[in-house]
Assembly symmetry: C2
Homo-oligomer: 193 residues x 2
């Protein structure tokens, strides 16, 4: 059994990811943990402090180890494919990282965003940058990273709306299928088979 403090972080991250900051009450979190609302204030000063602590905790937990896994492979195309497959699978298993990242881009104030970017993202961004320089030295690495990230995130997000759009196929594509599509498109574009 986890300590109450960590259970609070875990539960708060879950609920904030799903419903956003304003959409979750202290009573919701307390209820999910199994304590009363007032008891939260023994662990955190207020709702804002709980939110920041939960997001920081989740981001540090989530980005751990992806960079190390990549460093082992020298061939850049293979490294790209591993990265895409790994990230898709990780974000499918635990969608909280993706959900909160997206929410942060929508509504976070600049100060919180800067703190998160520098503390939780920089280490993870660096090997990505090197990969892009190897893959396409004559292109803008940051633009490539944003293009790739946009595809990764959006394919998972879009699963929610896909069934309601015309020409919808039954069921959602699995991550290995998505990984194949994204890798091919990113490397060769639509004009190449």
């Amino acid at each position: 059994m986890k300590e109450t403090q960590e259970l609070l972080l875990d539960t708060a991250a879950e609920l904030f990811a799903k419903h956003g900051y304003a959409g979750v009450s202290m009573r919701d979190i307390a209820g999910a943990v199994g304590i009363t609302q007032a008891a939260i204030y023994h662990h955190f000063n207020n709702k804002d402090a709980l939110y920041v602590a939960a997001v920081t905790w989740l981001f540090e937990k989530s980005t751990l180890g992806v960079g190390e896994q990549m460093a082992a492979i020298t061939n850049p195309e293979k490294r790209l494919e591993l990265l895409i497959a790994t990230m898709l699978q990780a974000m499918e298993e635990d969608p909280r990282f993706r959900l909160i990242y997206m929410r942060e881009l929508l509504e976070s104030d600049e100060r919180k965003l800067a703190a998160i970017a520098e503390s939780a993202f920089a280490a993870f961004y660096e090997p990505l940058n090197e990969l892009m320089l190897e893959l396409a030295p004559n292109k803008d690495a940051q633009l490539l990273i944003f293009s790739l990230a946009g595809m990764l995130f959006h394919h998972l997000e879009a699963r929610k709306i896909a069934p309601y759009l015309p020409h919808a196929s039954a069921g959602n594509p699995d991550t290995s299928f998505l990984a194949r599509h994204i890798s091919d498109l990113f490397l060769y574009g639509v004009k190449q088979p």
Copy 2:
């Protein structure tokens, strides 16, 4: 001077885009319009109805004409480039469409999402589907649409976090530069100059 009803839709769309459904109260909207909170209920049955009406109104306004503009061009590559440039520019001028679309994908209310997708999105999705079938008949059109949409949205979203990442360049790229990058990548991938 706009009629109160349309002013309500416009203001509600603005606030919901910025702060989300739970983050905006009826008082906030009424205050911004210049009436009292109770007066809203003369125009809309409840908060939910106002939200759906505002989002539908915004989406119909935003996606209007993009399809028509595209229909005039027969060459699919040119049509793709026009689409990318037009959407980037439109979303830069008025970010509300992008913000609410992203929020809809995050928020977990299936009923609202279904209503919006079917009423406001289907008409806009159809010409996109045809374009993809022309560009790459042997690929999955919906996957290509989500890939493209992901890039379009994320490049604009990422402007917020870009300055805090390593290797950041000064200032944000303008939309025509982004359009060039996205068009090239989508058509030919990173391996082609």
